[in-house]
């Protein structure tokens, strides 16, 4: 392509470019680091956001509801603990192991689930979540059963037997998680903006049309299922390094429901929604639960409200608010050219 720097810059910063998601996620993590009341809250938010990103790829972009993401969150965690304690693997390798193995497991589960539609798909993901929970007890030697696996060493980066960066829980871990999050966010945004991402949306909106056009529905669904598993697995891996131990709670179906709640709460039509959902959920869980033990009721009401009225979740509400402000501001100016059509133009790259 042309070496024109102006064109390159506009490609970078325009829709589909890497500039916007990089900027958005970078600014978000910086603000998070500055405003969050503790490093551990901030880190937890990032971890949950990553888990929700995996769920969002399936639900928001492909229209598939998986209440079984706990399989990968838990598996990624167990893999982290096992590889770190038994083989002394560093975080970078643990992440890769988690991602790859979770993708493989997702392929297996996906082979069962993908062929069904609607509620049957959901139930299969749920059934496998319960089965995975059960298996965690069957393989107690590896998972530590009820007690889990403790003694996970601090996350380190390096190679060839050397570690040149150690991230202990605290600011260094957060910085590391932040970098990881930005990378993941940019990569996934590119995935969503890519031709494959466009096909996923086409499948969600009208599966038979997509099929008639020539897309193999099964292949694409399986692909996104595997990517989603890998991403949630990465989140689970990071979580175990963060907490220092792997527990069976991560692989319970309640975790899967929590991930779905975060995903929907934040907004399923945009990747950034997953970040927002994590922020709100962790904030509520950390602060509201002390004040009012029945805070989950608010969560329930929020979910009902989102499903019925604000399908775009928190992200949708924020976006609508900004659009409203923009609309009002431009009405103030003498230019009557503001068309009601404005909000309707669709950015495919979202």
């Amino acid at each position: 392509m042309s070496a024109n720097p102006v064109r390159a810059l506009s490609r970078l910063t325009g829709a589909g470019g890497l500039g916007r998601p990089a900027l958005l996620s970078a600014v978000s993590v910086i603000l998070l680091g500055l405003l969050a009341p503790s490093w551990s809250v901030a880190t937890l938010i990032l971890i949950y956001a990553m888990a929700a990103l995996g769920c969002n790829l399936l639900l928001g972009y492909t229209g598939l509801l998986s209440v079984g993401q706990s399989v990968y969150f838990g598996l990624g965690g167990y893999l982290a603990a096992i590889t770190a304690t038994r083989w002394g693997l560093q975080l970078s390798s643990a992440l890769i192991v988690s991602a790859v193995l979770c993708a493989v497991v997702a392929a297996f589960i996906g082979a069962f689930a993908i062929r069904r539609l609607g509620i049957y798909f959901v139930m299969i993901t749920f059934a496998f979540a319960e089965t995975a929970h059960f298996l965690a007890f069957v393989f107690q030697d590896y998972t530590g059963g009820e007690n889990g696996l403790g003694g996970v060493p601090a996350a380190s980066f390096g190679g060839f037997g050397q570690s040149f960066f150690i991230a202990k829980p605290g600011p260094t871990f957060f910085y590391m998680a932040a970098v990881l999050f930005v990378l993941l966010f940019v990569v996934l945004q590119r995935f969503v903006d890519s031709p494959v991402g466009a096909v996923l949306v086409a499948i969600r909106e009208n599966e038979s049309r997509a099929e008639a056009m020539g897309y193999s529905i099964k292949a694409y669904k399986l692909l996104v299922f595997m990517v989603s598993g890998a991403v949630t697995g990465i989140a689970g891996c990071l979580y175990v390094f963060f907490v220092g131990s792997a527990s069976v709670a991560a692989i319970e179906s309640d975790m899967a429901i929590t991930i779905v709640i975060i995903t929907v709460l934040g907004g399923i039509r945009s990747l950034y929604g997953s970040f927002l959902g994590a922020v709100v959920y962790v904030a509520l869980d950390t602060y509201l639960s002390d004040l009012w033990p029945y805070w989950q009721m608010l969560l329930g009401i929020a979910l009902i409200g989102i499903v019925l009225f604000f399908k775009g979740g928190i992200h949708g509400v924020v976006l609508a608010f900004f659009n409203l402000v923009r609309h009002l501001l431009s009405r103030r100016s003498s230019d009557p050219a503001d068309h009601p059509n404005e909000g309707a133009s669709v950015d495919v790259s979202r």
């Binding site: 031709p195 494959v196 096909v199 909106e205 008639a212 056009m213 020539g214 495919v348």
Partner: protein
Amino acid sequence: MSAVDVTYEAPVILAAESLSKWFGSFGALDSVDLSVTRGSLHAVIGPNGAGKTTLFNVLTGQLRPSSGRVLFNGEPIEKLPVHRRAHLGMARSFQITSAYPELPVRENVRLAAQAVDCKVRRSVLRAAGHYEEPLAVTRDVLQKSGLSGFAETQAGNLSHGLSRRLEIAMALASRPQLLLLDEPLSGMGVDDIAGMEKFLRSLVPEHTVLLVEHNMPVTLAIADRITVLESGKVLTEGSPREVADNAQVREAYLGRGHV
């Protein structure tokens, strides 16, 4: 890999041999034979309940026949999964517009063009807009369909007539040899029909067109050959003139006593 990679150009591009389809004890199709010549515009008509939709669904792969074969360029395809057909060179449109209403017209067509581009449709490394080939095909198709001026319009905001054109444009985007059109004129108003007639006629002989239709005057005007179905069987087949003069056809449509 484009769809027009054909080395064997048979004169009969699509053939149905003794196609039958049973739903329980109901015979929707009974030993239907069909032969579509390359480069022609072939219409399938018949009164309600004649089996046109069933035949169409078997030809496009939505249904498997109970017996019989469907041959595309001589190759049996009746068991071929739906998503493989666009790659062979068969593309279909839908009777009820199935474009993506929230996407612009350009993106609708681009998605269809991308589907048969093996390199692009697997790509996760670049944004969709980066790839020039599907965009070029899109521009070309939009121009041929008369939709260039509406490229950025949301498909859901198109008038009915234009959305029927979009249906066909999406089928064209896969560069097919054969277009299977399901009631392309359905619901169209008088103003749009003339334009659509011209558009459909412009598709041959570069493509072959098989269409199912209810609109008799237009079908008689544009078709090269017409197959008439009644109660799941082929009543007759011939040129428009032959079919129009056929007493049995009139009887099938209007009932006895009207001939």
